[in-house]
Amino acid sequence: MSDLQAYDGRWVAMRDGVVVADAHDEDGIRSHEAVKETDLVFPVGEPPSGFYLINV
């Protein structure tokens, strides 16, 4: 499994637990030549600012 620490604030594409590409935003990662349609694509890092209620 790839350690995602180096990708904080970026989008990554992951295949079988390994990062195959990263980009600044979703469009960039989706259009990356190394990314297949079946790869998992998601951003890494703190959620957007604001507050979220997850209750005790």
Binding site: D8, E26, L40, V41, F42, P43, P47, G50, Y52, L53
Partner: protein
């Protein structure tokens, strides 16, 4: 010298201990409850709107100077002790977490109990990631339904059914499993904020409803004859005891019933550290009393009804059940640790609308379930699971509820002006996601660190996984349009300059999780697993009555029984399991042996 032997001895006097004490003593059994904290009741909360004392300094929670946990993200790391409470807040004292909860009282979906077989049926076995360890519960929703019903009628849960005996009912949660009857209490009225969420989500084609709540909107007398009055909407639920007893908690519902029988005794300041056993049956609970002396409580039946971590640690320290080994997959105690996945929400700062945010109740909310569980088609999405989406009006306490839009200075007069301006104008649409089990997520005994009594701490191994990252990214894309519907023409903050004429500012979009799980920031106290239930002794600790496969007179009950966690708050299911266990213990006490 051992205490007098009783029929049943219980570790922990929270919801599980309280429900069992009431049900078992009503059935004529003698019961002792061992509680590490002290006694308390509604009178203790008469003047408790002290946010610094309860919410910041965390008076009602476990003291990590006495006992804590070690944590690591994976097997290669060395686990370190958690020195201050952060990500989760386990309670201590009579009533346990049932005193400081918010009162959100859900039933899990029928699919949640058969998650593995249902997933394979719909998407095929290949849809489940190789390291994911989801498994069926060994009990179905239909089998658990009568116990959900018991818990809800005891606690006086308010809501509107969305599925009565298989008939879908508009206005309730149409995705829920069939209920045998309506909620015992009608739902609270919509606040303007809840009504706004309801309109917005309906416009987008979703199915909103009032979140089921244990904060009574009206007086209620339960089947045990317990009378409680309604909520005053003071807004001090989460992290606080209820000053009027309107929030269902064990001290105002089940414990008075147990005490009334004359067959229930509580021993306070009792820190259970081991279950004396011969490998087949247990004889007694060993505990430290308030002076630190070892004491012994013998009983015919031993119940572990403490928080997830304490139940699992007690089993491991007592050498009851085979410890889970993540390298071989063998063993059961400690396996399938899971949590609750946050992120994926959206926030809005309104310019032209105000909400009375200072009023509220912990579970006063409008919700939708369209994005939870398998309520939507996951084909091609690349992940499994979902979560509940809601807008809550829990009360906006003066310290922890301040929020200003992105770009606001972090201090000074501009910050103060923004705090004042937005206090009544900020709203959040939250997402509470599932947490599947994984082979590498588990609990065991730490080889290095010990508590103040010299016993090994519990070690937790956990991190966010790609499935949940993709789920949260997806959720954020769905909650953003809801907030945009709530603030038409609101400006989505994207790092650029904000328009002074926009009717509101919005943040949201694809949700994300940190590179690694962060133990320091509060997220949820919905820790689960470690003593999971199931139909197979090789993959579960307890059977469907929460009776240990390896020791028939030991019952382990709580969220530790969840094989993985659903996209809901856990207390409704914990309560249902406690009622199921009570029935099993009464049966066992008469006939002995395995109940299945």
């Amino acid at each position: 010298v051992a205490n007098k032997k009783v029929d049943v001895a219980i570790v922990g006097v929270g919801w599980v201990g309280g429900i069992l004490a009431a049900e078992l003593t009503k059935a004529g059994l003698t019961v002792v409850g061992l509680e590490r904290g002290h006694d308390r009741s509604t009178v203790d909360w008469q003047d408790d709107h002290d946010e610094l004392r309860y919410a910041i300094r965390m008076e009602l929670f476990q003291n990590t100077a006495n006992e804590t946990w070690t944590f690591r993200h994976n097997l290669a790391e060395t686990a370190l002790p958690i020195r201050q409470l952060g990500a989760w807040l386990p309670g201590t004292g009579i009533g346990g977490a049932g005193v400081h909860w918010n009162g959100q009282t859900w039933r899990f979906h029928p699919r949640d109990f058969t998650i593995k077989s249902s997933t394979i049926d719909r998407y095929g076995a290949s849809a489940i990631p190789a390291n994911m360890a989801i498994q069926d519960w060994g009990i179905t929703y239909d089998e658990l339904e009568p116990y959900y019903d018991k818990f809800e009628y005891m606690a006086g849960i308010a809501g509107k059914a969305g599925n009565l005996k298989g008939q879908k009912v508009d206005g309730g949660n149409v995705f829920e499993g069939p209920r045998s009857r309506e909620f015992p209490v009608a739902p609270p009225e919509d606040t303007p904020l809840m009504a706004l969420f309801r309109r917005a989500t309906k416009n987008l084609g979703y199915h909103p409803f009032t979140g089921p709540t244990a904060n009574l909107p009206a007086p209620y007398k339960n089947p045990d004859g317990i009378d409680r009055g309604p909520c005053t909407y003071c807004g001090f639920c989460e992290r606080f005891g209820c000053e009027v007893g309107a929030k269902a908690d064990p001290t105002v519902t089940v414990l008075p019933v147990a005490h009334k029988t004359g067959r229930f005794k509580i021993i306070n300041y009792a820190n259970a550290f081991a279950i004396k056993n011969d490998g087949k049956n247990a004889q007694s609970i060993l505990y430290y009393d308030s002076m630190g002396r070892v004491q012994e409580q013998p009983a015919d039946v031993i119940v572990l009804g403490a928080f997830v971590f304490n139940n699992v640690r007690l089993l491991l320290n007592s050498k009851l059940g085979a410890p889970y080994d993540p390298t071989t997959g063998n063993g059961v105690v400690g396996r399938n640790y899971a949590y609750q996945t946050g992120g994926g929400g959206a926030s809005g700062w309104f310019e032209h609308e105000e909400f009375k945010r200072y009023m509220g109740a912990g579970a006063l909310s409008a919700a939708m379930d369209d994005l939870n569980a398998d309520n939507f088609d996951h084909t091609g999405l690349g992940f499994l699971g979902g979560g509940s989406v809601s807008v809550g009006q829990g009360g906006a306490r003066p310290i922890q509820s301040l929020s200003v839009p992105p770009g606001t200075p972090a201090f000074g007069s501009a910050w103060k002006a923004a705090v004042q301006h937005y206090y009544r104008r900020v709203v959040s649409v939250g997402f509470q996601g599932e947490s599947p089990a994984y082979k590498q997520h588990f609990m065991d005994l730490d080889p290095h660190y010990r508590d103040k009594f010299g016993n090994p701490l519990l070690r937790i191994t956990f991190d966010w996984q790609p499935n949940e990252r993709a789920m949260v990214a997806y959720a954020g894309k769905k909650t953003l349009p809801i907030m945009q519907e709530m603030i038409p023409n609101g400006q989505v903050a994207s790092g650029g300059p904000l328009s002074p004429t926009a009717p509101g500012i919005i943040t949201g979009g694809p949700g994300s999780l940190p590179a690694h799980f962060d133990t320091t920031a509060y997220q949820s106290t919905h820790n689960t697993g470690g003593a999971i239930m199931g139909a197979d002794p090789s993959t579960s600790v307890v059977n469907s009555y929460l009776q240990m496969w390896d020791a028939s007179n030991v019952f382990v009950v709580g969220a530790c029984n969840f094989p993985q966690n659903a996209g809901f708050n856990p207390t409704g299911t914990v309560g249902a399991l406690a009622y199921r266990a009570a029935e099993g213990i009464i049966k066992y006490h008469k006939q002995g042996g395995s109940l299945v």
